[in-house]
Each structure stands twice: as structure tokens, then as C-alpha cells.
Symmetry: D3
Subunit: 188 residues, 6 copies
């Protein structure tokens, strides 16, 4: 029996941590669909098409992995893709309660849907899209945390920032430890 798994997320932008989970899922199931959540009322740094393009550049060559956009209930989307498997990365204890709540409601909505939790490589335990964006705004080098294609696009987003010399800064500078940063992370 061929099995399809869906890995949903904002991927705003996709990090090396996401890619690590995608590759692991790709070894477990015959097909993995990376599903970019599209929500017109949500403020993302990258547009849906940018996020799809970044992901496609990253998973090119990974067998069995494809990229898609989705909206609405996950259980509805799964049905359209003939899948009953959700993939979620589990980084730390603070993720657990939220992820279990999500898995629980999806199970409630469709009892046949199973959520599979994977543990990313230890190097990516503390990587999130939002923390990467926060430091990138100040010109920080984040090449170890992001795929090369994403690095390039991120640099274009924050063009005023220079390397770490600190000479030029984005106009709407965020303090790294500010409330905004903290809230962003909680959502990331």
C-alpha cells in the first residue's frame, strides 16, 4: 500500500530544521506533501508564491517530496490528497502541549487521521522561522540555519542591513529581546 503524508506549516521561511523533518518523513512514507498554509488575513514576511518557490528549490531532488498550498481544515485537505498522515516536528517541551492539542482536535474531526511526531537533528532544536528573521533584520549571518536559496531571498527582503559591521540598519529595527521578538517566537 502506498502511503502519503502531509507536512503542514507556514514555512515563512523554510529553515534547515524544516528540511531535516522533510527528509526524515521522506524515508518513512512513499510520498510527502509539504503543505504551505495560505491565509490572506495573516501577515507573513514572504508571500505564498515566494514560500512555495523557496520550498520547491529546497526539496528538488528529494525523492517522493512535493510542495503544495492549502487553506481550511487540515482534515479536509488530507481527504483531497488521499492521505491520513500528518507530520509534525517536535522540538521541545513547550511545543508538546500545543502539538498534542492540534493532534487531538484533528483526531476528533477525523478519527482515521494520525499525527506522526518526528524529532529534528539536535542542531536544529532551537531554530525557528521567526528567530531567524529577527536576527536577519540586523544583518546577522544565518547561513547555518537556512538553506542557501532562502538566505538569498531573506537578504533581498532586508536590503538595508549589511554584514555584522552594524553600519546600516533596517529602518524599523527590532530589539532582539523585545516583546515583539518574544511574541513572534511563540507563534513561530
Amino acid at each position: 500500500m502506498k502511503r502519503t503524508a502531509v507536512y503542514p506549516g507556514s514555512f515563512d521561511p523554510v529553515t534547515r530544521g524544516h528540511l531535516d523533518i522533510i527528509e526524515r518523513a521522506g524515508r518513512l512514507f512513499d510520498r510527502v506533501i509539504v503543505a504551505v498554509l495560505t491565509n490572506p488575513s495573516k501577515r507573513c514576511t514572504f508571500s505564498v508564491s515566494e514560500r512555495l518557490r523557496m520550498l520547491e528549490a529546497c526539496v528538488r531532488g528529494v525523492p517522493g517530496v512535493e510542495v503544495d498550498a492549502m487553506n481550511g481544515l487540515l482534515v479536509d485537505y488530507l481527504k483531497t490528497r488521499d492521505s491520513r498522515i500528518l507530520i509534525r516536528g517536535l522540538r521541545a517541551v513547550s511545543d508538546l502541549d500545543y502539538e498534542f492539542q492540534l493532534a487531538s482536535i484533528n483526531r476528533q474531526l477525523d478519527a482515521r487521521v494520525e499525527t506522526v511526531f518526528l524529532m529534528p537533528d539536535e542542531r536544529y532544536t532551537y531554530v525557528s522561522s521567526s528567530i531567524v528573521k529577527t536576527v536577519a533584520q540586523f544583518g546577522a549571518q544565518v547561513d547555518d540555519l537556512l538553506p542557501p536559496a532562502v538566505c538569498r531571498m531573506l537578504r533581498r527582503k532586508y536590503p538595508l542591513s549589511r554584514s555584522r559591521s552594524g553600519k546600516r540598519r533596517p529602518r524599523r529595527a527590532l530589539s532582539f529581546l523585545s516583546r515583539r521578538g518574544r511574541r513572534a517566537r511563540r507563534k513561530g
Copy 2:
């Protein structure tokens, strides 16, 4: 000695998990006041009067339980109701730190106030008002998670949505896993 306990919350809307806690509290104390927090500057899905009406429909018949609206400091409200007991449901580890902080500040403000933590039925460990609203917007069936009266009112709030056929959607659709959903849950 007759003892009155207060169970404060937003109840936006009241879930089966809330009702479970109310019933447990009702067996422990002579009187339980379910106190709806009213805050004009806060954006709730249901108005204070809607929330009061829903709760009253739900607790009708539960002996010793009444419903009230409150504003301001909990310790001040307790005094007006001649109560020194706060009830809080404790679902998961992520609740604990916040709940202990709350209990601690209330104790600081009035040393005679005691917070009593109750564990809901396992079936309601992952139920929250916000996750229920999020999926209800897409027409998901949430009858197992909400009392019947609340289900009806929720359906009236999101009239565009149909059962799970997915044909019609609320205009301002939220992606289930989107940042908004996540933030909402953290507050729920």
C-alpha cells in the same frame, strides 16, 4: 460553615471542559459562582450577555451553581461575594506556570484567598475555547466538545460555513495551523 468558590474565566464560549470543572467544583463547595470576565476593550467572539446566557443554559439544574459577570481584580470581586476560594482547571504542563503566577499574585494581594486546582476529565485535556472556534469557522462538527446550546449559537456566528463538505467557507477564513490560530490558542 458554608463555603463559596468562584470560577473565573472568559468562557468565550463555555466548553464541555469548563462544564466538567464546574460540576467537580459543585461537589466540593456549597456554592460555585461562575464569573464571566467582562472587559470592554477585549475582543471576544461572544458578547458578555451571550456568554452569560450560554452559561446559564448549561448550569441550569446543577445545584449550587450560579453565573455572574465581573470586572476588575479577582480578589476584590471575591470580597463582594464573601468568597475566599478560586477554582481553576489545570489541563497541561503549559498551563501550570501561568496558573501558579496568577495564584501567586492573588495570594500576594490577599493572603486569605486560596486557589484550588482541579483536573478535568481526560477527554477534555486538549479542549479550549479558541481551538473550538477556529475549527468551527470552517464548518467542523464540534458537538463533542461543546454543550448543545453553545453549538447552536456558534453555528449562528459562522453561518456561511456548511458541514464538512467544505463547499462554502467563512469569508475571513483562517488556516487552521496559521500563526493566528496558534496565538489564539495560547491565550485560550
Copy 3:
């Protein structure tokens, strides 16, 4: 070798819990710089200059401690102050994941930067700037949680509130347990 440590934060306002960490850090390192994060786009209750003034009033007399304002990446600021040591207070489990993420990204940006975690006095485990502000708006006495200078300034911020008699209230009253309060805390 003389060692300088930096203790960054919003300090909006500084609490007794913050002061406790400052004093502990002062015994561990030759110089401690309390760095107020300044972010024009962030909504703080107190202005940067107010926060600096409050902190300076509090640390006056604590040997080796000075107060500064900063913006941008922490690792960049550390370089300008010839420091490689970050101080962070660790109150509870819910802090841990966020703090480790922060320490991890800073280490990624500059491998020589070390984050030192200190445990505050048990009395301050549940004290945060935001919970103190939330209750102070209702006229609650928070003298045990804030230094005297901060208490005075906080009272001036919320002039409509009276002692606990509850007679006059701030116009934009917040319910203590409301979503706003909860979100605020998560950021605090």
C-alpha cells in the same frame, strides 16, 4: 582578568525579581551592565528614559553595576562593551525553552558569547513586569514586588486608581484574567 557581564531586558518596569538577579550577577562578575532594550516600534508602558532613571535609582550603591540603553543584536552590543557574558534569570520551566533558543542563536552568531542563567529568590519566581502592571492598574498594592521608586512612578502612570477600595478605576480597565492579561504575561 576583569570580566564584564551584560544583563539585557525591557525592564518595563524593573521589578524586585530583576534587582535580585542584578545583585547576584554583581557578586559573580567584576562589572554588570544592565542594558535596557530600546525599540521605537515597541509599545512600552515606560519610556526608555523613564526605565533608565528607575534602574539607576535602584542600582545606585550596588558596586560594579551600571545602566545603559541598547538596540540591535545583543552580540554586537556585547562587542562594543568588551563583554562575552550574558545574564538571564530563569524562573520556571516555561522560560526554559525560550531562553535556550535565545542562548543558542546568540552562540550561533558569536561562539565566544556565553549565557549564564541565574535562579532568582523563590519569592520572585512568579513576579513579572506585566503581571505587576496589570494589577497596578486596578489600584492593587504591589510594594512587595517593586522597588519603592518604581512604585511611585507606576502610581503616577495610573492616577485614576485608588487603593483597593475599588471606587475609581482606570478608564481602560483590563480584566485581570482576560486574554490581554494572559498575552501580556507571556511576553513579560
Copy 4:
């Protein structure tokens, strides 16, 4: 590609929580091997052959599931069964750190081995073999937590105990909340 997953454990005895995980795993992979850890130096309540027999009675009829005994390193056993997938149930936060440590060392020993975490039905969040045995010794009814075949064998193990009338007790009675119970649980 056919995929085999291994679900290792002591199963001393198998609970309804274990069976729930087995059924979920059975829907995800083509073959699931439930591997009973055999360790002569370990004190189990049930012998290896008893545990194998109980499991076989339970999984009879579940397609694609078989039962085996194993010893030694998990990564070595996986190789002999041509599997690269480990199944683990994740009940609560306190499980997480231990399970991640286990998954991490197995990944270290064989990078191709992936651990898949599944969430049991909420009803089984707090069920463990040791807590069931502890209360069964006092004659408590645990039919909701154990499969019927296991109930019968457990009753034979503790023959002195009667229903809850409390008339006859096992000679070496354990206080339910005693240190032994607590330690047992932590291992269970």
C-alpha cells in the same frame, strides 16, 4: 516499498494504552513488530513467555502486527528484522526528555534509524503498567485499563486479593502512594 516498524517495550503487562499505539502504528506501516525486551537480570512481574502470550492474544486479528522477544541494542535488533523505524508512545511532558534521549542515542548508533512518536488516545494518557499492577494488588478493578486476557492473568498473579470489598489483601501490601509505587511508576 514495504516498511517494517518495531515497537519495543517491557509490556509487563501490556495495557490498553499499548494496544492503542499498536493499532495506530499498524495503520501507518506495512508490518509492526511488537518487541518484548527480555532481560534476565530484570525483575518483571510476568515472565517473557507470559508477556509474549498476553501480547499474542491481544494482537490476534490486527493485520500486519506480530510479536517477538529481543535483547541487546535496539539498532542491532532492527537490522536483523530489516527495519529502520522505531515506534514510541508519547503520553506526557515527563516522557519527552527521556524519549528524546533514547531517540538521540539510537540515531547516534545508526543514523538511518528513525523514531516515530505517536500520541495515544486521551483515555490512556495516564495509564502505565506499573500503576495498574500497584492497584491490582489491592484487588482494584482495572478492566478498563487492561485487555481481558491480561486482567485474567493479573488476577491469577494476585490471588489473595478480592474485589474492592477489601476483605483479603496481598501479604506484601504496598501503600498506593508509597515510595515503591512512585519509583515503579517512574520506570513504567
Copy 5:
């Protein structure tokens, strides 16, 4: 309606943290029975009669509180005392999962039994019987953590130890951070 609550534990020995919970429970319910778990096969530092005596000395004068010894299932004991309420102190996150498991099994065995969780004074968040005993063996002063009567009895248990001068030590000295200490704590 008069309500009786049972606070079960080993109390080996009773600490100021336990007393704090007892006093809080005493304000919530008409009668509180402190139930010492007696288990012949368990190695306690103090005998059952010593523990009962210590507790009685401590709760003398606290209205509505009495001390008892118990064995067997908690739900059976509750029935004999006409109580349906269990009291448990909740100190930290690591307690939560175990306490919820306990509450869950007791609810399973008798659905009318409710577990009430109380938060001790912040000063006692990190106090446990075992850590107090471990340091007392080395002659450490633990008067702030134990009631006076318990201090005296503990000193008689470890007579070789002197104040902190460190001159004489118990023969079977335990390193404070040793595995024994750690395991003990987890059970405490």
C-alpha cells in the same frame, strides 16, 4: 454539608511545606485527615509511630485537622472516613504528570473521588523530605525547612553529626549530589 478531605503522604518526616498545605486545606474543608501511609516493606527513616507523633505535635491547635495511619488503596480508605476529597500539594512541573496519573487512577477506581491540588507558599517550592534528610545527615541546619519538633527528632536520628563545623560525620556519609540523593529526591 460537612466535608472531609484526606491529605495522604509518607511524611518521612513532615516538612514546613507539608504543614503549609495542611493549613490551606484546613481553611477549605470542615475536616482534614492527614493520612500517614504505612507500608511494612518500605524503608522509611522514621517509623509510623514516630511520623504520627511528629504530625500530631505539628497540627495540635490547627482546628479541624487530625492525623491517622492508613494502608491499601486510597479510595478504600476514603470510604471508611466518609470522604471524597483528596488533597495534594503541587510544587513544580515535574510533580504534575505523576500527580495527574495518581488522580486519574483514583478517579478510575471511584468516580466520585476528587483530587484538589494546592500550591504551597513559594518558600517551600523546593523543600522535600528527602533533600532535608540528605543534608541533615551532614549536620546541616534545616530549622527553616522543618517544624521544631521534627528538627529535634531528626537530630537524634543523626547523632554523630555536629553543626556545620564538619568535624564529625555520619559513618555512612552520602555525597549530597550522589545518585542516592538524586533518586531519593525523585521519590520524595
Copy 6:
């Protein structure tokens, strides 16, 4: 002012995770004493002199670091070494409660003693002495987790084990996932 910090532990055996903490501490303080806890009644795999030798081989060349053996209360030992600083590595949430309890009791015994928590490199988040020993018994390669000198000594301890071919095994084989392994880990 010269500052001495003490890093206490069993180091049975020292892992790369321990060394990582030692190096970080060495950059923070003028002198770091790695203190091996010696406890005659405790069963360690390596003797005190073996553990001292291993540590000395590992820290040779790390400036400012020395190795010592200690027994008794940490606060007493600190006094003899003219130190008021304890170093502890903090790997995960499950460590936190225990470590805070330890820091709290030490602060209680001597208010001038400060515990400094450091975060190890992400690669060592899940490394512990006991898990390394457990898998080493089966001949697993643990060279990435242990310093070379320790690897050699560990191989001598478990001479029957061969590489991963699995041909010869230690007589008293432990199942990797057995209760023993689990308990060991909790202590490690």
C-alpha cells in the same frame, strides 16, 4: 578579584557534555575546580581514582581547570576552596526542577553561594554518563560522546563486548530499554 567556581558531579564517566561545560566555565571564571563526588556507599562503574585520572587526562591543557575529590555538603567544600560559585549544566526541562531544588537548598545552607547554570552545546543535550555506559556494554561505538581516554577505559571495563557485530556480549546483559536503563538514566 580572582574567582573560583566548583563544578561538582559523579563523572562516572566524564562525557563530552561534561567537558563542554568545563570549558565554558573556564572562560567565565579564573579557576574551575571539577569536584568528583566520592561516596563509599554508592555503586559507581569507575572508582574515584579512575574518575580522577580520566578527568585529569581530559582537562590537561585547559587553563585554570583542576580536578579534586570531595565528600559531604557542597557548601562546606566550597568554603575549604574559598569559592562561592557552583557550576551546573542544564540540558533539558526534566533537569530543571531537580537543579533548582539543589540550588535552593544550597542557598538555604549558605546564602552567599550562587549556582550558575550553563547550557551545553546542542550536540550534547541528550548525552548522559548512564546512557553511554548502557549502550557501551553491548559493544556500541560511543566515541562521539566520550573523550578518547574514557573510551579506552570503558572498553576495558566491558571486555567481552565486541564491535557491533553482536557476536560476544557482556554476561549480565542489559536490555537497552529496560527498567534498569530507565532508572539509571534518571540518576545520570
